[in-house]
Symmetry: D2
Subunit: 136 residues, 4 copies
């Protein structure tokens, strides 16, 4: 598990006075990108190998609101790595540990022709990095 | 079920060349807003009655990509209305009916003090509108 | 001059209670895209010819706020077309004609190598469409 | 002048392959917020005093593209503080100092009734903080 810090921007709020729910999905991406940087499998590397990794599913449960100016922590866990898919989970908390949201996402790998691709087969070293990052 | 049309904007794409996944969550909101307009329970009315209706959960499954310039249709169904919660489902398709994504969301009502509120009790007429829209 | 209609989305508001200023820049793009569709020079065509048209400058003056649920009209004028640049202006009003904002943008054409390109030279027919749309 | 660091997010790119121009306007806001934090006049304080500070004008010149994963630096200067307006300028560079964009914005103060307000009169201490930050 790695933790990512995000300071809430004004443009992320809506007229309810707190963060618009769609932005958590973007925070998940920020935190996931940061996670892959930290475990030595940066997404820029994935791209440079001719692969993209689109989102297959995303899900979020909102527990408490997040407010402009506060720092939120996003804990990322790589839950499972399969041949052609991987699964990530997220916990958003305040700096004091108050739970704000939980979520999950799943992803595949596509090659330059847009075909679903086994990372294990085409990029075993990158696959190994993901395996090593499992459950961390 | 009501259907909402959305033309894909350039700013909704990302460097993969198609729509960024977070925008579907925003499309769900656009389509949900439109649905409540059509069934006579516009969100501006809800707000004018001193209520807000935040998102409790959201979930999306991405089936096929959506592209800049194309029109997507978002079918909205109000699945269930409870005392303090309601549940909505979404289907995103191309104009030809090709399935692009499915999703769900759930919502509650909060009063001006931020307390969870029974719509049935405080706004029975608005509640009735939702009941009438059920499964449509 | 062509006019484009936009219904204000909830996710476009911020905690001030009205539309976040950055969204006007996105509305300009929506309206500009619509304008080029209407004058027979759709941006998807530009792209299919191997060109992109990035923004060089953008500017906006905010006069009055725009609110969730209302319809705004965005009037687009193609002000000038040069060899390698074009200039667009925008007026945002309510449906009653109340001025909300004005703005401008300028753009160039880049080819697939990212080089600035004379549209007149490489795509004279498309250039002609722009010339014909001038001041409209 | 204060400098703010921003790591470019994937969701900030568009299908051209680099950052969508509208996001610079959001970065200006991030950097401006950070600036006011640093000079002891945080926007959360402004709000707690019953004031908001909407954007009157914004302008950006794009020099070179910004890419996913890179860090950009945004230099903020408070250029002028008047009775009811203030003016800010921005420079966006790579970490190596390559210029990516420049911009400006201007702002006023509104009280809770939405009336333009002299900061000097209603909040002289906060006004003093801004004056002290001038040209820094």
């Amino acid at each position: 598990m790695e933790v990512y810090r995000h300071k809430v921007h004004y443009y992320e709020t809506d007229k309810m006075g707190f963060v618009h729910h769609s932005n958590y999905i973007r925070w998940f991406e920020e935190a996931r990108t940061d996670f892959f940087d930290k475990v030595g499998a940066p997404y820029t590397l994935t791209e440079s190998l001719g692969l993209i990794s689109p989102v297959l599913t995303v899900q979020c449960e909102y527990k408490k609101s997040c407010y402009f100016g506060e720092i939120v922590l996003i804990y990322v866990t790589l839950e499972k790595v399969e041949n052609v898919r991987f699964y990530v989970s997220y916990r958003v908390t305040s700096v004091d540990g108050e739970l704000r949201a939980t979520g999950t996402s799943s992803h595949c790998f596509l090659n330059e022709e847009g075909k679903v691709t086994s990372l294990k087969k085409v990029q075993p070293e990158l696959y190994k990095k993901l395996e090593d990052a499992l459950g961390k």
